[in-house]
Symmetry: C3
Subunit: 659 residues, 3 copies
């Protein structure tokens, strides 16, 4: 007779497997947040779900406001949401239900972290009722445990501070570490603890619905997200991507690129689980948003194709309809104020039709894993945040520089026709036996821990290549300055840092012909490597062979200068002859910058989704064989030279023998 | 035998009538704040009043510092101020006495609201002594109850918060309303309560002196001024207008226009009472002022004529002499540091002479009520303030946009030769039977309450016309978003809002030939009106007939774009053929923008005061008949074409049969 | 038998004399801060001191961290620092030991003021141990009592506030004074008290080591430094000069000029004591610094020569090596990360060699006291800080204007070949009998106290000349506005201020041909002086004779406009024929602006150190006789016309009969 516990465990493992499997045979599910509010008539709700269905939407998200789930006597009352769930059933729409316990009326985002024991109890009570009530509903697809976790700074309330003290009491921490790194290290662990606490509470009631979390403002807040740990109790991970709130570092023309990077970053964080886009701006801002906008229909299309290309199981817009009162009322919606069609929704419908008619090409789709990985790490972001003195115009030391440096590489490689990964270093799989033909890029990652260096060393020994720029590794995990100590990064670089000099603003320092650094220049002391770049007598770049692999090290910020000195990374890339080594996934050459390119595989075919988000057309020349264009279910022959129109997308399909 | 209470009531009514009557047979009284400070000799005070008299000044204002009214033993001691009052008597200068109970030494503005019961008692005690002592003085003209009420934000002290709780407990308020609108709604009521409390305390001692209040920073603080209620216990209302503190939204060349709008706004708020300019910047800033300046003599003249033109009973500069110590010492004065003549005071003297020699033309002067009223409302300002996310460069959503949109219309109409009203919606008289030939403009008034819509509907039915632009009426009084509900404004517009889209910055959206919107574009769903403007298939403007009147509705921000797209409102105005309908008060055409024009009537004549505040001359062509130029008491014939020199003013007089 | 107290007093006086004598026979000692940290090996420390010795360094500074002076059991443990002191001995390096009691780990600057009685006791305990242990060490050269005193604003803690109340209770203070001036007046006294308290505690243990303090951010913080009082208990005063933290008001090309002014200001504050540069930026910033930089080798040279020229007994870079962890790790060092040579250190070595080979020319060197003194005062800085309304673009009223106005004069005179003094007014010696040929400049010193005016009057009567511009003396010490009172400055000017007018921004007001004011214009009422400048009928400049001297008064901001209207001060200077009167120390004419010139005397020779910090060469024409160029120990003949290359320095030597 089977032991009960064992049985439960096996059952959970089984569900775990099921929950992580592709939801729709690989065909991306497109949907939107359905705003369910008191005052909506049955007809209105049904009209909305009907419109979803008729535009090809198969999934929605609903925020389960505690305040809307109670009647005037404060008793639980599920009438409103039952209506929504039933209407979803009628129209074949699956539901991501967002747990949303009570919060203040102007808290648009919801509870991120608890601030008292009472609140924990209240949240638990809330879940007991809500999870139990809906867990068996046919349409329930996933529980969203917290809406957009991540708070930016460690809360100062007593409850949190007490837990911080406990956390510190179990660790040996240097004084500097405590001041600068620990608050952020704790916050990361604390977010994980709270998410896991909610997950376990849900699981104690409902063992078979997928658990999901969506992450916002990823370029800043990834510093407090420990995705590998989350992946153990989640079944899917999602991106909340709202250019008007999140993409202030970029110009509007770069929003598609930024969204692509955002997707890759979250897709990497999903680890073995499915990747979703749980929120994508669907409509206009009025008073909300730091950089307000209304997406054009072209952007809706570019973003949808980007999401699909990065392997999303589904894409849920925020939002379908819009709130009727308070903050963000009348904003964000895909539908118009009559709950009717818009040019944006028509675009969604068109893409749904395309997907439907080309369904077979998406069956069991997988992301083609790139052979190039740009790796950032959380500790570098912590250091950079802690060490801010003054927000000046200094390349390389401003808040955001470490992430932006990685994104500049991402943009460059995308524009070149590569589809690089963007991963936290811990998300990279260092356990393989062979890394031939693989490249890791470390761009201005100021902190490198001993373990990271050890992992990278193994990667290189097993045939991998590493390209390092910027002030990578100048600090260890305790913020000790490495160049004046033993400089552990020399295990990779074969050389040490002799001097770092701050450059005057608007000054370039020559690394090599047409390759310049900005913000800082770094002089190297070579120990055992090959000198590749010199400025007068100063060594500024090394190449080091380790085992079967090599490291190229130019410890000055090159990527950050790519913005101003167009071609900086291109010149580096060419000079290092990188194309010759890593172009295996690259199927095209283009005549100007701007393309964002993603590749999926399905059976023995590759699907190339190529976006031109710019305001000028781009001519591409195909290099790979057996490439056809996909449109209405039947791949068509295509010229070797194709013009991709402004703000448009083409889908190419390629037979590949080996996948 | 007459009942005592009835007698008192009648007496008060009689005084009320007297107090509101014209002070000087219509001839504007010009004066200045007299700084009375310890340490001034009798000679100095007398010299100052003598200079007032010799420059034609007939009124002053004196701040009754509690700290200067007590001797070293803290006993009441009126010596210093008695001296000033007696000197004023000797030189025939009337006095506005500003109640100024104790406050901290760096509080340059004085008490705006009480913060404790003790303070209320202390203020009452102060008034008992001061009001009783001076109430019968021959020169006392008015009590200024509070200097510049209005605080910007609800104070956080316990005393205020307790009253706020009481206020809320008597109302049914939605959660959003409480968060966003109630603090400002309460603050408005609370200001009224405190002013009324002071008024009643003064009236209990002195029944026959006029009660006055002066309002500063009007373009922002009108949101907390309930002028109609104030008008019930005040006898006159005044403007405090200091470009260096208040006109930061404008360039210096627009200060005369801004001052004109400021005057019209306060003059409207005076309702049945007299309108004054209680503070007008008279001299230089040194360390004070957000945008420091010293008025030129040309500006002094332009501003005086603007004040006279907008119907002020009198204009009081801040200040005559300047403070001798502390903040603002040596600043603001019309006189020089020897208490002698300046070019600015000479200009005042000249205008006083002009007024004197043309006295008869001002007898029983009245403002010619314009047939065009630009109506703003407080709720729109509350919403805009509450919903601020980020101070970005977005037209239409930034703090101040709702008022600036109205002012852009004001400026445009002024430059065209109109003299529009600028009124809070509640100040408009909706009780008449016929509104033929009347136009109301609602420019980007984001909140419209049910009552406002009802009143406007009545206005239109009775022949009035309404022109609406911007996001007018997208919220109701509870911040519900109207376009997704029943959109009550359609009672006026005959159509609904289908979509609002945020436009990229620096982008225009075409409404019609040369008419563009900015910040947002709004698409209309027509229900029962006539489509006047379309962009491709999108309806963007409607004309709706209701009863005898019509509504023109273009729900995109047009006025706010007038700043950048010169001619935007002019093109709209022409396209709507507005001149043909509303030009009855317009007597001129001009060859370029810039004129600020005000019209008074006196007996069977109209007085046109036409300012050219620009740095280039403007040619005007007179259209009306019987127009002469006024200079030295005798109207002179004038050409049909007149050149108005840079920074100068001309006064025209026109016979009109019907007034 | 000698009384003990008398003996001690005489002994102290003797040491006082000794301690203030020149340390190195006049040859400047060059050195650097040695960072001594746990974890450094004996070899590393010795290697560093050896490098100091080999590059000609003879002095270092060491921060005596309390936390590094205690072992894990919290017992005192001097091992680490003993090692450093002994290594210094071995390599003939003297030590400035900085007292550095416990502070928080991110407090990079150390304790500036106490915040409790406990802290005072703890500091005293710290000193007992540290001073006693090292007072007899052969290398100990000076105790640095506090690192960089000065806090900017009066601390709000109870301990400080209580002392502030006590301070106020002993004074008669007006309300305005208390609000605006007293907090800063107290803070100045309080800094002095705390420094003196530390000095007396050290002296109770160690009577024979020099006491030193170094001052940072001097252009702002001199307002809280009472140098004359400090000079009574200190033996030397030092400048902390870090362009990246302190020179944000200036462009990089002006850093040498700013450093020169900074040196002169501290050198003046040293009074009878020696002047040092205790901190000078030696290496790069990474994350620290408001305006980060790495000094070039050219800057290192320019700054060293500037320090030498201004009479420094020694110059100590911050720092030799760099910190290994936490804030500023890897920053500021002269050496590279291998503790080896850099281009900056090579430059130091070269200059040390030059000094050594020309040693005799520095013997008993003294600063040639300039006949021109630019005098600022603390009260003007207090007033300006207290009266800030809004940080706008207004010349003359912004924070920093009073000091910047003085510095503009300094820069102009330097560029002309003068070497003016820059002194707090109290640092000027008003006790002499004759001031023939001496000029005092008061530039925009808004406060003048009665005593200051009295002293200046005496100076003029005894033959001195005074040149006054800007709003000098518009306030007295209590912030009373002088022009509306008796205007005490007229004791000097012979006239009063009739009006001050704020000028529109970007507007100039003509004082005379090519001489303009900005920000403000001031009209004068002449009483007894000679009118020198008029604008139309307005008197704007006076010349007044008093006794044997004269005063030139143009009470509008001229110096502040020199930045924008190039030549403004030059034209004034020429028009006033100043060269003819004050050129006695001037030995050259140059063809363009930029030179920074300092003059030392040694025996019967003058040493002219002439820096060209600009990016273009400057041609000079020598005027004086007997001038030779100094290079390798032997003065060489030199042409009358010399080209000074970009960013370089020449040393001239001149025989002078009378010194």
């Amino acid at each position: 007779m089977m032991n009960n516990t064992l049985y439960t465990t096996l059952l959970l493992l089984f569900f775990q497997f099921t929950l992580n499997a592709q939801s729709n045979n690989g065909l991306p599910m497109i949907g939107a947040q359905m705003i369910i509010e008191p005052g909506q008539s049955d007809e209105e709700i049904d009209q909305l779900f009907a419109l979803m269905e008729s535009t090809g939407m198969t999934v929605c998200r609903i925020r389960m406001f505690e305040s809307y789930l109670k009647n005037e006597k404060d008793d639980w009352d599920f009438t409103l949401f039952d209506k929504a769930f039933d209407s979803a059933q009628k129209h074949n729409v699956k539901i991501f239900a967002t747990l949303f316990p009570s919060t203040s009326v102007d808290d648009i985002g919801g509870v991120k972290l608890p601030s008292s024991e009472e609140q924990l109890l209240q949240i638990e009570e809330y879940m007991k009722h809500v999870v139990a009530h809906y867990k068996s509903h046919s349409q329930l697809f996933a529980w969203v445990l917290i809406n957009e976790p991540g708070v930016g700074d460690l809360p100062k309330d007593d409850f949190t501070q007490k837990r911080y003290q406990e956390w510190k009491s179990k660790r040996s921490i240097t004084a500097f570490e405590e001041k600068f790194m620990s608050p952020q290290a704790f916050l990361t662990d604390y977010n994980t603890w709270f998410l896991n606490w909610i997950a376990s509470k849900v699981r104690s009631i409902d063992q078979k619905t997928a658990l999901h979390v969506n992450n916002h403002m990823a370029f800043q807040l990834v510093r407090e997200y420990d995705f590998p740990k989350w992946s153990e109790f989640l079944n899917s991970l999602g991106a909340s991507a709202h250019p008007s709130w999140h993409y202030g570092w970029f110009s509007r023309e770069d929003y598609t690129m930024a969204f692509s990077a955002n997707c890759k970053l979250i897709q990497s964080g999903a680890i073995k689980n499915n990747f979703w886009i749980t929120e994508l701006q669907g409509g206009t801002n009025i008073y909300s948003g730091y950089f307000p906008l209304c997406p054009t229909k072209e952007e809706i299309s570019l973003w949808l194709w980007t999401g699909i290309g990065t392997g999303a199981e589904g894409i849920i817009f925020w939002s379908f309809n819009s709130r009727k009162s308070g903050i963000e009322a009348g904003e964000w919606g895909l539908v118009n104020y009559e709950n009717g069609m818009t040019d944006r929704l028509e675009e969604v419908q068109k893409i749904n039709q395309f997907l439907k008619s080309n369904e077979k090409f998406f069956r069991d789709k997988k992301v083609v894993e790139s052979n190039i990985s740009i790796l950032y790490n959380r500790e570098s972001m912590w250091a950079e945040k802690a060490l801010q003195t003054w927000q000046g115009p200094t390349t390389g030391r401003d808040y955001g520089s470490t992430m932006l440096s990685s994104i500049e590489f991402y943009k460059f490689l995308q524009n070149e026709g590569y589809q690089p990964n963007l991963k936290e270093l811990r998300e990279f799989d260092f356990s393989k036996n062979n890394y031939d033909g693989q490249l890791i890029i470390l761009s201005h990652q100021v902190v490198m821990t001993d373990q990271m260096i050890k992992n990278l060393r193994g990667f290189i020994e097993k045939g991998g290549q590493v390209l390092i720029d910027g002030l990578t590794g100048i600090y260890d995990a305790q913020l000790n300055f490495e160049p004046t100590s033993d400089f552990k990064l020399q295990l990779l670089t074969g050389g040490e840092i002799l001097e770092i000099k701050h450059l005057p603003s608007n000054t370039q320092f020559d690394i090599h012909e047409n390759i310049v650094s900005t913000g800082f220049m770094t002089e190297i002391k070579n120990k055992s490597a090959h000198e590749i770049y010199k400025n007068n007598s100063k060594i500024v770049g090394l190449k080091n062979s380790i085992g079967k692999g090599t490291v190229t090290w130019i410890p000055s910020p090159l990527a950050l200068e790519n913005k101003n000195s167009k071609g900086n990374l291109k010149n580096l890339w060419d000079d290092l002859e990188m194309d010759q080594q890593f172009a295996s996934n690259k199927i095209l050459e283009c005549d100007k910058e701007g393309l964002i390119h993603h590749t999926l595989k399905s059976k023995n075919q590759w699907l190339h989704i190529i976006n031109n988000p710019t305001k000028t057309s781009i001519d591409i020349t195909l290099k790979g064989a057996d490439i056809k264009q996909l449109n209405d279910g039947v791949p068509k022959k295509v010229d070797q030279k194709i013009k991709i129109g402004v703000e448009s997308t083409i889908i190419l399909i390629q037979k590949r023998k080996s996948l």
